[in-house]
Amino acid sequence: MTSTNYAYLSNYAIYSAMVLYTIAFFAHSIEVAFSVRSDEVKTKFDFARTDRAGRIGSAMIFLAFIFIFIGVIFRGISAHRVPWGNMYEFSITGALAFTGSYLVALWKYKLRWLGLPVSIAVLLTLGTAITVLYRPSAPLVPALKSTWLAIHVSAAIASGGVFLLANCIAATYLILDSYESKGLPRPNWAKQLPSLESLDQLSYRLVAFVFPLWTFAVIAGAIWAESAWGRYWGWDPKETWAFITWVAYAAYLHARVTVGWRGRKAAWLCLFAGSTFLFNYIYVNIWGTGRHTYSGL
């Protein structure tokens, strides 16, 4: 097969993943809409049926994961390099990481209630990627030609995916907590969600799980910087904010473990740390200064 064929196949795989995600989106909508109502009102749907809808949703997301995976791999083959050379490629890989971390969390903890927001987020990401950010497959600038691209960026993107998932959960915690602290019942859509304690614990588990990976991503970046730029740390804006994110999550972990923060305070700190990551992604990539803008040699 030629490079162009691979590039086309990659695009088809991404389109297919979007179709699968759309089905997952509907399945999860059905699940949320009807299983909640069955609490109070009698409907034709009983729990077993909505459970099936949820399962279909999960299966579709799993298939979509495989398709995005193929899409990312074929993109790489078509360009003869790892597929992380421009924003389109970061986005599809980001979608892959986000889906992957959702699936792992789904398998380890019962997280199916996140299926709907995850489908929406991934559909939006892939949608903008393929319409706005799409670039034909092209070679990399010299600074990016390194095996460290694969190592550093995959670690950074994967940890980003999990941090964002933890942020979703912390935000859910805060919303539900505001109901509970006012003594109000949970809103309908949230009837099926886990208890506040398990949300709290879950976001902590996720962060504790990826913090070492994030540390690794930063260190891999430093090792790469040493071979590409002649210093392993230079307080470039991206490096600075990676450090700040690292410190913020370290503070979060310490606040929980050594000081015993739980619940609302911990959730806010988690959101803060996650937003330093987002800030890094947005600020440095869009108002790019520093060397992470890959303007050539």
Partner: protein
């Protein structure tokens, strides 16, 4: 010892205790995070001196104050260094005693069983004959690799010591990283040199365009190598104009006079001699010209380094002839692949040399080179000069002006080499690797204790450090085991 001295000593001890608590270390780390922020918001001298100058011209008043607060050199400012040093001391003071304690604890038995198990987590009583309870429990807990303290009436078991091992390893590694950074900045050096194809670079301080030594690094410690640049090849993507490969070929001799060896330097693969690495950092063009005076005598022949202005390597520079009478200066641009638009005038459409032009404006008067003020070699100070000509030259064309002529003979590429000697980086690297190992160990081991106590009944209970999950199951497993169900 007199009283005031004693209280001074007590004060010192108090201060030391405060500084070396884990809480202070954590606060200092947070503070370091916050202190790093301004460096990403204001331009930094070490990264982008031009932007700093620009900031000064745009906001002179504000810039003066920001500069007093060292906000343009955040990472070398006294306040940033102070946080860094305090953190360093705090970490040492915190971690070393804990390490010693932990080493002692490794051989020791778990602590005594507490008096009242019902104050612990998951207390429950078990239906099991009293005389068998402890034997059964010990056998089971040992098989689960708990450490056991067996007393007459009770068992105290503990698991997950490696949590503290990991924790300490992590913090010790942070110290190692800081040591590595320190060694690098005190004993290292870093410099840059522009070298044209065909030229030879000898690693002595005078060969550099700029060179910074660490406080304890001496000039004599530069390793004695020499490089001759034999070729530089840049490849560009035709669709996007983006560079796809840079390849620098050199003949290297280390030490000088040794047999020369052919080497290739690329962006991600520097040339390495011990702790010294030679990086390919930037590239550009030097146009070659011949300048003659009115009589036709050659007054200058050769290349001049021009600085790239955009991704397509439109380059600008200055050719200065202080020895001609009157003095002549050329303000010039080199365009590797010529194109022009009404808005921009002549510019380059592709970074490779396909259709080159040299644009010159000729100035005569006083170049101001002996005014004592340092001058950029890329710019002509035209304040005391008048313009006497303007031309656009294709290859091999000559432009005649009233004082002489200039001929565009060709071009050659130059590269900017960055030469860095960092003797501390291996420490930092090992620190980083151990830090990750320590983190993994401490985040993924759960430390917990389980007690079995025989009194009028058989009780069990546990305690998980940091509310780690899974203890409930372990207790109920033990209970099932003991009850033989």
């Amino acid at each position: 010892m007199s009283t005031p001295q004693l209280s001074n000593f007590a004060l010192l001890r108090w201060a030391w205790r405060q500084l070396t608590s884990m809480r202070t270390a954590l606060l200092l780390l947070l503070l370091l995070g916050f202190a790093a922020i301004p460096g990403s918001l204001f331009p930094q001298r070490t990264q982008n001196p031009m932007k700093v100058t620009e900031y000064f011209t745009n906001n002179p008043g504000l810039a003066k104050w920001l500069d007093r607060l060292r906000l343009f050199d955040v990472y070398s400012s006294p306040w940033f260094s102070a946080i860094y040093l305090l953190l360093f001391i705090s970490l040492i003071g915190c971690v070393l005693p804990r390490t010693i304690e932990h080493l002692k604890a490794i051989g020791a038995k778990p602590p005594l069983t507490p008096k009242f198990l019902d104050r612990m987590e998951y207390p429950t009583s078990v239906e099991v004959p009293k005389d068998q309870a402890l034997d059964l429990a010990e056998k089971y807990l040992r098989s689960k690799r708990f450490r056991i303290r067996r007393d007459a009436e009770s068992i105290s078991a503990e698991k997950g010591y490696s949590r503290e091992t990991g924790n300490l390893l992590f913090h010790l590694s942070l110290i190692l990283i800081l040591v590595g950074v320190g060694i690098g900045s005190l004993f290292g050096s870093k410099g840059e040199a522009i070298v044209s194809v065909g030229d030879r670079f000898i690693n002595t301080p005078t060969s550099y365009d700029n060179l910074a030594f660490g406080k304890f690094q001496s000039e004599g410690s530069l390793i004695p190598f020499a490089l001759t640049v034999t070729d530089f090849k840049a490849t560009y993507d035709i669709k996007t104009n983006a560079p796809s490969d840079y390849k620098l070929s050199v003949l290297a001799a280390n030490p000088i006079g040794a047999k020369e060896v052919a080497k290739v330097i690329k962006v991600n693969s520097p040339l390495t001699y011990g702790n010294t690495k030679i990086y390919l950092q930037a590239n550009g063009y030097s146009p070659l010209v011949t300048v003659r005076d009115k009589s036709g005598k050659v007054t200058f022949q050769g290349g001049t380094v021009f600085l790239p202005q955009d991704g397509n390597l439109t380059s600008s520079g200055a050719i200065k002839l202080p020895d001609m009478k009157p003095q002549i200066g050329f303000v010039a641009s080199f365009v590797p692949t010529y194109d022009r638009s009404n808005k921009r005038g002549a510019f380059s459409a592709f970074p490779e040399v396909l259709d080159p032009r040299l644009l010159v404006s000729v100035w005569t008067g006083n170049l101001g080179l002996d005014s004592g003020r340092p001058q950029s070699v890329y710019r002509v100070d035209t304040s005391n000069m008048t313009r006497i000509g303007l031309a656009q030259l294709a290859l091999h064309q000559t432009y005649k002006f009233s004082e002489g002529s200039i001929t565009f003979e060709g071009w050659k590429p130059w590269v900017n080499l960055q030469i860095v000697d960092d003797p501390g980086k291996m420490y930092a690297l090992f620190g980083a690797i151990f830090a990750i190992l320590g983190l993994l160990l401490s985040l993924f081991t759960r430390q917990r204790r389980i007690w079995v106590k025989v009194s009028d009944r058989v009780e069990i209970a546990g305690l998980a450090k940091n509310a780690a999950p899974g203890l409930a199951k372990e207790i109920s497993d033990l209970k099932i085991k003991l009850e033989g169900k």
